[in-house]
């Protein structure tokens, strides 16, 4: 199985740059943007398997971004990531098709595990369809 292509959407620049470094070291093909609009633009140009999406961002928030992403790329798996998660936004995210909803700060191995599971599910879904 090839390594998944990842997109990180988070307004916390140090966080995205660190993840870029870490995930790249692990052999992932990673891109990062800092807001929802950029994310919607980039998926028009590139294919991604898993998106790590922050909940609270300037411009459009994570849930709205997720909605739009899923419209354009229904099979793309999204892991919602937030430092301010609430039950309601988590449920909303899951209802909109997010793979999971995880809280910051998350350790890198935990995040990797989530990414792997998300990608596995995407592969399974693609095989089914």
């Amino acid at each position: 199985m090839r390594k998944p292509r990842l997109l990180i959407v988070d307004d916390e620049i140090p966080f995205t740059s660190n993840l870029l470094k870490l995930l790249s070291r692990k052999g992932y093909e990673v891109s990062a943007v800092n807001d929802g609009y950029s994310a919607l633009r980039i998926i028009e140009e590139q294919e991604f398997d898993v998106v790590i999406l922050d909940q609270k961002m300037p411009g459009i928030d994570g849930v709205t971004t997720l909605k739009e992403l899923k419209k354009k790329r229904p099979h793309m798996e999204v892991i919602m990531l937030t430092g301010h998660g609430s039950i309601e936004s988590g449920i909303q995210g899951l209802q909109l098709g997010a793979f999971n909803y995880v809280m910051k700060p998350i350790t890198f191995p935990e995040l990797l595990e989530q990414i792997v599971h998300a990608y596995e599910r995407k592969v399974i879904e693609e095989e089914r369809s």
Binding site: F15, K21, G83, H84, I87, G90, Y101, M103, K104, P105
Partner: protein, 620 residues
């Protein structure tokens, strides 16, 4: 994951002062309200009662008075007619004798005696009988006085009878020098005129008049136009004395007077020119009380029959009834007062109870709103901290990766660096726990809901903390009721509640060499729920701190040891479960937390949220 809060024992005591002031204010307020209730209640009840009582009294008094006055009036009229008839009959008797007998016949003393006896046959009306010639001399006389040959030609009554034919005199003394009155009849036969004269028995007249007397204070007498007694009054004065009452009071043929001697003290009796007060002073008038005086004038002679009685005696029955009404009125007012006091006290008690309940609810509301606002703040703080923490974690991971990849680095240095990075991770995790708690506090988020055995949960927590407790010299004893029903809740949250409480209980023994923590559970069938208590023998909590123990960030633990969120999270969790948590404490003796977990409500209230959470977990 738990945070243990601790209380600030070294606080000053402003809260207690405020509470005492509030207590004083409430007590004054309730006392004032009680007085108002009683006043309003008594006024509303007593006023109509007094009004009705007063109207009844007035109506009854008026009615009785008019009836009594009417009775007096009829009585005096009746007796006047009796006296009048008596005098008329006696005059008629004399006329009959005069016109049916000759002068010669009557001049014979034996005949006159015979006639005298015949006249007195029905009663001793006459005390003497005499024949007086035209010249005014006594020509015949039967009686106890020696009046033969006495000359009456100059007397007032002789002139009157000669002029009028029949004359009834007023009381006078005459030749016999003793008060008496006479009836004289003029008889004319041809050229001869003579007079038949008789003296009426004064005693008989007096006894006749006395029949009209009423009651113990009643008095009946006759007076002439000049106000001179014609019969002796019962109490003060005697026949031919001047009556102290002013004659101008007696207007018309008959009437009723109400005399008030006390009010008339300063007035003068015109007939005698004396102050009424002096009449009392010299004993002429005796009764100082108000009197009712009924009078009626006789046609012939011009005498007035006076019937008097003390007002108090006349209206004795009425006064008795009025007194009974007055007593009843007082009893009623007393009863109203007692009932009002009891009712008002009962109402105040009910109001006080309702106020206390409202105050309790208010406190709960304030606590909830305080927690809500702090929750919002906590959520914001958690978010702001979580993001940098996430950055730190990733930075740490980057450094770890670089260290691992860098072959040129010294092995020991690498090891130390990795250890330091692990420490960074550990501290980030610690911060993360705090922010998780903050978020949990703000959201009251529970991961999952399942049926939890309270005893099992508590035993797990005690197992975790027993070692620490033993180290601190604290013994934990358990008293669990067996076979408790399970409650639907998050087991971790349940454990967190007791972890906080037992940790606090252990901390409360810090300044003591040893102590104990007693934990109990039982089923409360009346409230259908479980009750757990955690009691320690620690330092206790001052009164002023008790109100704040569930406030977030309220702690007495040293910096870095407690966040002050432990008890507020416990409070939040228990409330979220639909339960209750309360605390009572005594400084120096210990603290007891009592927790109540409902058996049914928790399941019902959480069902919708839990289903959503289950969905969330399944998807995850």
């Amino acid at each position: 994951m738990f945070v243990v809060g601790r209380l600030m024992f070294g606080q000053t005591k402003p809260a207690k002062g405020v509470n005492m002031q509030e207590l004083g204010f409430h007590t004054r307020s309730y006392s004032k309200l009680l007085r108002k209730f009683i006043l309003v209640s008594v006024t509303c009840s007593v006023l109509p009662l007094l009004l009705v009582g007063w109207i009844s009294y007035l109506y009854y008094s008026q009615f009785s008075r008019s009836r009594m006055v009417d009775y007096f009036h009829r009585n005096v009229e009746y007796n006047r007619r009796i006296v009048e008839s008596f005098l008329e009959e006696r005059a008629a008797d004399l006329k009959l004798v005069a016109f049916t007998h000759s002068l010669d016949f009557l001049m014979d003393s034996s005949n006159l005696r015979e006639t005298f006896h015949i006249l007195n046959r029905e009663g001793s009306y006459f005390s003497d009988l005499g024949v007086i010639g035209e010249a005014g001399k006594h020509v015949a006389y039967i009686g106890s006085y020696d009046l033969m040959d006495k000359d009456y030609s100059v007397t007032f009554w002789f002139k009157e009878v000669m002029a009028k034919g029949v004359y009834i005199s007023d009381m006078f003394e005459g030749y016999r020098m003793t008060p008496h009155f006479i009836i004289a009849v003029l008889c004319s036969k041809g050229d001869t005129n003579w007079i038949l004269r008789a003296t009426i028995d004064t005693e008989f007249l007096s006894s006749l008049v006395e029949t009209a007397r009423i009651g113990k204070t009643g008095e009946v007498f006759l007076v002439n136009r000049e106000g001179v007694y014609q019969t002796s009054p019962r109490f003060k004065g005697k026949v031919m004395d001047k009556m102290p009452l002013p004659m101008d009071s007696f207007t018309g043929e008959s009437g009723i007077l109400i005399t008030d001697p006390i009010r008339s003290m300063g007035s003068v009796v015109p007939e005698i020119g004396t102050l009424i007060s002096d009449l009392f002073k010299y004993g002429v008038m005796e009764s100082r009380s108000q009197q009712i005086v009924a009078y009626s004038w006789l046609k012939q002679p011009e005498w007035m029959l006076v019937v008097k009685q003390d007002f108090s005696e006349v209206f004795e029955d009425i006064n008795h009834v009025n007194m009974a009404i007055l007593v009843l009125l007082h009893i009623s007012i007393l009863a109203i007062l007692i009932v009002s006091v009891f009712t008002a006290r009962y109402m105040i008690k009910a109001i006080k109870k309702r106020d206390q309940e409202a105050e309790g609810l208010n406190r709960q509301l304030m606590q909830t709103s305080k927690l809500a606002s702090i929750g919002e703040l906590a959520a914001g703080v958690a978010h702001e901290i979580n993001n940098p923490l996430a950055v730190i974690l990733t930075e740490s991971q980057v450094m770890r990766d670089i260290t691992e990849d860098e072959q040129s680095l010294d092995g020991n240095f690498k090891e130390e660096l990795v250890q330091s990075l692990s420490q960074v991770d550990a501290q980030v995790q610690r911060c993360s726990h705090i922010t998780q708690n903050l978020l949990r506090f703000s959201r009251r988020m529970s991961a999952s809901s399942q049926f939890v055995d309270l005893n099992v949960s508590l035993k797990d927590v005690v197992g975790l903390l027993e070692k620490r407790a033993n180290t601190c010299g604290v013994q934990i004893s358990l008293d669990f009721q067996e076979k408790l029903p399970e409650i639907s809740t998050d087991p971790f949250e349940m454990e967190q509640v007791f972890l906080n409480l037992i940790n606090n209980a252990i901390d409360a023994h810090e300044s003591r060499p040893y102590g104990s923590i007693h934990i109990t559970t039982r089923f409360d069938s009346t409230r259908n729920g479980l009750v757990a208590t955690v009691a320690d023998t620690g330092s206790g909590i001052p009164d002023e701190d008790l109100e704040r123990v569930f406030d977030p960030f309220y702690t007495t633990k040293p910096v870095g040891k407690g966040t002050g969120l432990g008890l507020s999270i416990s409070y939040s969790i228990v409330k979220h479960m639909g339960g209750e948590i309360s605390v009572r404490s005594e400084v120096g003796k210990g603290t007891e937390f009592t927790l109540f977990f409902p058996c049914m409500n928790t399941e019902q209230t959480d069902s919708s949220e839990n289903s959503r959470k289950d969905k969330l977990d399944k998807k995850a």
